[in-house]
Amino acid sequence: MKQVINIWTLLLAILIFTSCKKELDLQPSDTFSDANAFVTFDDIQKGVNGAFGRYGAYANDMYVSALLSDEAKLGADNTGFGALTYRYQFSADNTTGGDVIQAWGSYYALIDQVNRVLPFIATVTATPDQEPRRNIVRAQLLALRGIAHFGLLQAYSKNYDPADSRGVPIMLISNATARPARNTMSEVMDRIETDLAEAKAALPAVTVGSFSDTVMNKINIAAYQARIALYKRDYDAAITYSTEVINSGVKPLVSGTAFQEIWTDDNDNEVLFRVRYETSSSIGTLWTTTGGTVSIAPSDKLIASYDVADIRANTYIGTNASGNKFVNKFFFSNRGGRVVDLKASRISEMYLIRAEAYAKRGAPDLAAGAADLNLLRSNRIFGYTNETFATSAALIDAVLEERFKELAFEGFRFFDLKRNNLPVERLISDANAAWQTLPSSSNFFVLPIPRYELQANPNMVQNDGY
């Protein structure tokens, strides 16, 4: 009898007093959790693929930059898409500000994906041939994180001012419940530069043959460094980085058909970095639906800016059966349907960066700047004769105008105006008088922090005017 009691007591004791960790430590079988998401290097590669995919966030930069600037107007068939944004009637909420607050969530989603994968790179199991790739994917992720922070800084902070306290929060570790405050702009810029520099240092040299425009490498990181240096107004650095890209020779400027076919994915000329879309037509449908509804059209101002001999006029702008103009970039595809890649960085931008930097740097080099500009124009305009510039201001104006024409709908115009403290000036044929111009002092140049962020995060400070 005693034995029975003893056994019972033991059983009870086991149940009650041992915290039987194993019995209670159950893991899901149907989804990955922190414990088993990244175990092998193959998993890491999948995480990295996911991060590259999330740079699709750049599509929204393209959309917003067009809607807020003078390169677009509401299309003939517009049923409201982007209308509030175009009319500067947006605020920080989801209803009116859906377009302008989107980058906040999507760039931080990219940053979080990077931060989730990074800690596992060193520890996952890998095959011998994968071993060297640990450093490579780490560098790729760092580069993406730097670029994402730049996307945020450009949209949600004022024109670059190192002392300004309202940068964006820097996220270096994954923390879903973080409630961070904003870092200063110089802190954010330092982090961006560090990430990119560290990434570049860890990556192997690239040759014309080994260059790929679908992953981060030494050359296209330099392209982003050039873009960011220009934004920071560090012109010498901008010249250095853009020269590095141009001199690498991986993607020379092209003209004629070779240029036109960039946009239909017949070739990969000029492109330094792209987000690939295997089946999605999401880039082109930002402007024109697959059914042909023109939601966002090129502005009359943009159309008028092209010389008749300019190949970009027809390459970038199309006319549909109803006689309405539409954005021809990202419209047709050799892959069928409207499936084209997002071109996030091209070599022509490097020439324009360098030209602008030459004009703006302490000791301007107008000849060198003019040379870059003329080279680009001669590739675009049939029968072009080189132009010379008497003053820096003239060259700068010309470069900005050229960026307007060359990089239309690629996510630059609005931010070019912002960093040069220029107003948006639309033609009256493009816009109602109420939203025809946006003075350079307008608070709308700094996009609103989403309302949900302010509700969720007590440490967040809203931008002026929202």
Binding site: Q27, T31, F38, E278, P450
Partner: protein, 1027 residues
């Protein structure tokens, strides 16, 4: 099992013959009113020596020398045990089960406590109130019978479980299902069609903390404890009961227009709107001679227009008659109950068959229960087992606003359409006018049903070590496997018509789903009980518990089934690039575990004062490691005031008992899950990553952030209760007051986008919710005579629900409601309706400031429309027993709830529906000319959702009426073998009093009625005989 029992019985019978018999005791068994009770089993306790009472209640039994106690048991009465001593005459009075506080024992599922020593609030429903209610899911039986709980039948589809909320909603994000326990083993909530309620001896509904805290992390929504029948001691009795009847459609307040009315309405619509002259969907205007279009037609076309209108006028299909039917109901049961010596058994086989009131809906069940009990001086052991097999047929849709839903389509399909063509086939075609025929064609050609096997098995073992100590072990499983089949015949118009191009739609489909759910529970215990000189009673028990739940499901959908061999997976066509008929396959699995320790203690002094408490430590796999173990406790006290000398002398007071308890419990069983299933609720704290692709490359991306601070929502209840029996027990019942607070309430908190999930709400433990209220349960025996007893009873409760705090999180919307601090849950948010402008026919709304405007803006939505959860609800009724006749009447009601009537939006909406060729309510009166004072705007203006369609959902139902006749023993004496016979007729849901205009105020979700299956009326008759 049966064989073993027979063998055991035989052995005991042999033993019986060898026993010495020495003396005889006689007596009479009567009920509380003094009426004799025949057929009571009288047994010498601990032996097989027994007899039964005669018609006049008398008995005579010969006792062995060592006989100590006599046990009196009868199916319809509470058992009584009497010490024999040296008496030679023992007469007892037995209390009827269910009509009064059944027994004096509260069954908590973990312990059994004398009612006089239980510190909380419970209600016991006895067998008499459970059996023969013609529903497939037992929980529906509780409506109007238990104070303080809301029982709503959200669907009249046979076998659907009810929505039960005990003492107000205690969780916003999680579910509010009580914990269900059958014979000590927890069972899956909401899946009861496999259980036969006629096997239930009692249901204890535990609403307080003293009971809920015993279940720790699982008890916060209350506990419903089912005790199934045990064998009655004595010779084996064979019982048969049969019940048959019909169920029919309930009254329906919206009467759809007939052809004449609708053509007239269309005429008015076209005339007033002025822009629908070419709208062929409204033939009443389209073909009218007054339509300006008419004048432009050629004489021939004019004639054919006239003809078209004439021929339409001759059709008048009542779609309600086509989709509803008179449904048959039958329920048969045979049972075997008896015992000899130390072993008793109860065995029953039930056959249940209920048709639904709409076509292709029904439920069939075969259930088989075997309960075996063994008791001796030291050991007790019981096995309770049940296996139920059910098959339920379903319509394609009876919930959503879809034209595949017969309850919607029969209301809005035009009456001038035919069901069948001249050749007898369905008059299918393009919606709107053919949608009802399309629906009925699908009803005939398709199949949608599931079969379910549910098995519950519980073992209960007890061993008394000595006078004070004992050991217990409860262990069991609840197992359920459901197989669902959904067959879509490719010949149906909706799949075969030329507009359908999708190859998988054209091919028809066969979908099979399999799901399995298992709960296993092991609960060992040690207890200590001691009485010191009849003054001090001490009762301490220590329990351990391990509960494992595991679920898995699997499904596939294949295409191309051959209509000549319908409804079999065998004819699925394998997919390939040419036919594109790729099958879809899916599935998932999850498991959870719970590990606990529990200590309970009770001390009673002189039967007057009781103190009790419990302490439980629960560890659960659902919580993150840092919060995994959480403790719950309760304390309580009872003062048996009527045992005090100063009350003892007041003759009007028989019993007066005051009870106070406080304690806490958690919502482990109702943890929020993103899709409401066990699967997503199993690991809610864990971040999740999913696989995907980027440009054809595989990816792993984070898809759910997890919340590593998750813990239970904890509900704390203070309960003050009074039990009373007054005026020679003519007036008895109980009253309870409670204050229930849910802390760490899950509320939706938007994450900072910086964390990577954008505008993503996660559930965080931040809010606080309060439910306060009182409950009454009062019974009065107005007349108490030997042959005539008349009882009145009323129970009910008031509950005030209020969101105390959202913990800094913003007010958030849920469906048609918004969760706002200071308001009750279920508070609708809607723009105020200000009627129709008599001058212009424009719809008018109220702005937030209360001004009338003709501009609708969702920003003007306010929360002054009441709440969807009724604060008042209850039941009342009467029972009359006259000689062999019993009449009982039960009304159930709820009051103070408001609900959105979505059907009204469809049926009184000229622009959205009348103008698009749908039928309308015959009540529709819309604005036609200046000066019209009506509530439906001119056809020139559409309407938005507004408070116009929020209505009072209060109701009172005549829930149950039953009249039975028990054939007197004197008549049965001449019938060999028959010992008891009873006949009855019963009506269910016969009438409803309500201002609600839609199908059924109980239907669907609490906040909104779509077009749900209304609860049927039932009329049944039955008989019960015992051999």
């Amino acid at each position: 099992m049966r064989k073993l029992c027979l063998m055991l019985s035989a052995i005991f019978l042999l033993l019986l013959n060898t026993m010495a018999q020495t003396r005889t005791v006689t007596g009479k068994v009567t009920d509380e009113k003094g009426a004799p009770i025949p057929n009571v089993s009288v047994l010498v306790r601990g032996t097989t020596n027994g007899t039964t009472t005669a018609t006049d209640g008398s008995y005579s039994i010969t006792l062995p020398a060592n006989a100590k106690e006599l046990q009196f048991t009868s199916l319809s009465y509470d058992p009584v045990t009497v010490t024999i001593g040296n008496k030679t005459s023992i007469s007892v009075s037995m209390a009827a089960a269910g009509t009064k506080e059944l027994g004096e024992v509260v069954v908590t599922g973990i312990s059994r406590v004398k009612k006089s020593e239980y510190t909380g609030a419970t209600t016991k429903i006895g067998e008499g109130q459970i059996k023969n209610v013609p529903v497939g899911s037992f929980d529906q039986i509780l409506q109007g019978k238990v104070p303080g709980i809301s029982v709503l039948s959200s669907s009249g589809a046979p076998g659907t479980s009810a929505t039960i909320i005990i003492r107000g909603t205690g969780s916003i994000q999680g579910s509010n299902d009580p914990l269900y326990v059958v014979d000590g083993i927890p069972v899956e909530a909401g899946v009861f069609q496999g259980l036969n309620p006629n096997d239930f001896a009692s249901i204890d509904v535990i609403r307080d903390a003293a009971g809920a805290a015993l279940y720790g992390s699982r008890g916060s929504a209350g506990v419903i404890v089912i005790t199934t029948k045990k064998g009655t001691a004595g010779k084996m009795k064979f019982g048969y009961s049969a019940q048959m009847g019909v169920k029919s459609r309930p009254e329906f307040s919206f009467r759809p227009m007939n052809t004449t009315e609708l053509l007239k309405a269309q005429f008015d619509y076209g005339r007033v709107s002025g822009s629908n002259d070419n709208n062929a969907n409204i033939p009443g205007w389209y073909y009218s001679t007054q339509n300006p279009r008419y004048a432009t037609l050629s004489p021939a076309d004019q004639a054919s227009a006239q003809q078209a209108l004439d021929s339409l006028s001759k059709i008048n299909t009542n779609w309600g008659d086509e989709i509803f039917r008179q449904a048959n109901f039958s329920n048969h049961q045979i049972s075997l109950s008896g015992g000899s010596g130390k072993t008793r058994l109860y065995s029953s086989l039930g056959l249940y068959n209920e048709e639904g009131t709409t076509l292709r809906t029904d439920m069939k069940r075969i259930s088989f229960r075997n309960n075996i009990d063994y008791v001796d001086d030291k050991f007790s052991y019981s096995v309770n087992s049940n296996i139920g097999y059910t098959k339920r047929n379903f319509q394609q849709s009876t919930v959503t606003n879809s034209l595949a839903n017969p309850f919607l389509t029969s209301a809005v399909n035009v009456p001038y359409a035919r069901l069948r063509k001249d050749d007898g086939t369905f008059a299918t075609g393009v919606a709107p006018s053919n949608s009802a025929a399309n629906q009925l064609e699908l009803t005939e050609l398709d199949e949608n049903y599931n079969t379910q096997v549910k098995a519950t098995l519980g073992l209960n073992f007890n061993y008394k070590i000595n006078k004070y100590f004992g050991l217990g072990l409860v262990t069991g499983v609840d197992f359920r496997e459901t197989q669902g089949t959904n067959y879509g015949n490719r010949l149906a118009f909706s799949r075969s018509n030329p507009n359908v191009t999708n190859p998988t739609t054209r091919a028809g489909f066969q979908r099979e789903t399999f799901s399995r759910f298992l709960t296993a529970d092991v609960r060992p215990s040690i207890y200590f009980r001691k009485s010191v000189s009849d003054k001090h009673d001490i009762d301490i028990a220590v329990y351990g518990e391990y509960v494992k739940e595991a679920a898995k499901d699997f499904n596939f959908t294949g295409y191309g089934s051959d209509p000549k061999r319908p409804n079999t997976p065998a004819t699925i066509i394998q997919g390939n690039a040419a036919n594109q008929l790729f099958a879809n396959v899916g599935g998932r699995k999850a498991e959870t575990s719970l590990l606990s320790g529990l200590i309970t203690a009770k001390y009673t002094y002189k039967g007057k004062y009781t103190l009790s408490g419990s302490f439980r430590d629960d560890g659960s796999s659902k919580l993150p490691e840092n919060n995994r173990w959480q403790t719950f406790y309760s304390v309580g006290a009872v003062w048996e005031a009527s045992k005090e000398d100063f009350i003892k002398n007041i003759s009007a007071i028989n019993v007066l008992r005051i009870k106070l308890s406080y304690g806490g419990s958690g919502n482990a069983n109702n943890f929020p899950a993103s899709d409401g299933t066990f699967f997503t609720g199993a690991y809610p704290y864990q971040p999740q990553y999913s696989g995907g692709t980027y440009s054809g490359l595989e990816t792993i991306i984070a898809t759910y952030p997890g919340n590593n601070d998750m813990k239970w929502e904890s509900t704390f209840v203070t309960n003050l209760g009074i039990d009373f029996e007054l005026l020679n027990r003519r007036l008895y019942g109980d009253i309870n007051l409670y204050n229930k607070t849910t802390k760490d309430l899950f509320v939706q908190n938007a994450l900072s986008g910086v964390g990577g999930f954008g505008d993503f709400p996660i559930d965080v433990n931040a809010g606080e919710l309060s439910n306060k209220g009182f409950e009454w349960n009062i019974n009065a025996e107005v007349i108490r005579k030997q042959d005539f007893v008349w009882t009145l009873f009323a129970n009910g409760g008031y509950n005030k629900n209020k969101v105390i705090s959202l913990g800094g999180v913003n007010s958030f919307e849920l469906g048609t409601e918004k969760v706002t601090e200071g308001l009750p849950l279920g508070s609708h948010i809607e723009v105020g309706w200000a009627g129709v402008d008599a001058a212009t026919g424009q719809p008018l709304y109220y702005t937030k400031e209360g001004l009338i405007t003709n501009v609708y803006s969702s920003d003007d939505a306010v929360q002054t429309w009441g709440t969807s959860e009724a604060p008042w609800r209850g039941g009342f009724g009467t029972s009359v027993r006259f000689k062999g006749f019993d009449l009982s009447v039960l009304f159930s009601w709820q009051r103070g709830a408001t609900k959105v009537d979505n059907l009204e939006y469809f049926m009184e909406n000229p622009v959205g529906f009348l103008g698009n060729g749908y039928n309308q309510s015959s009540d529709l009166v819309f604005w036609q000319k200046p000066g019209d004072i009506v509530n439906t705007p001119s056809p020139l203006y559409g309407t938005n959702f507004s408070s116009k369609i929020i209505h009072d959902a209060s109701f009172m139902r005549l829930r149950e009426v039953s009249l039975s006749y028990t054939i007197p023993k004197s008549m049965l004496q001449n019938v060999k073998y028959l010992s008891n016979a009873r006949l009855y007729v019963q009506g269910n849901n016969l009438f409803m009093w309500t201002k609600w205009r839609g199908r059924d105020p109980e239907g669907g979700a609490a906040n909104i009625n779509l077009s749900e299956y209304p609860n049927p009326r039932g009329v049944t008759a039955g008989l019960e005989i015992t051999f």
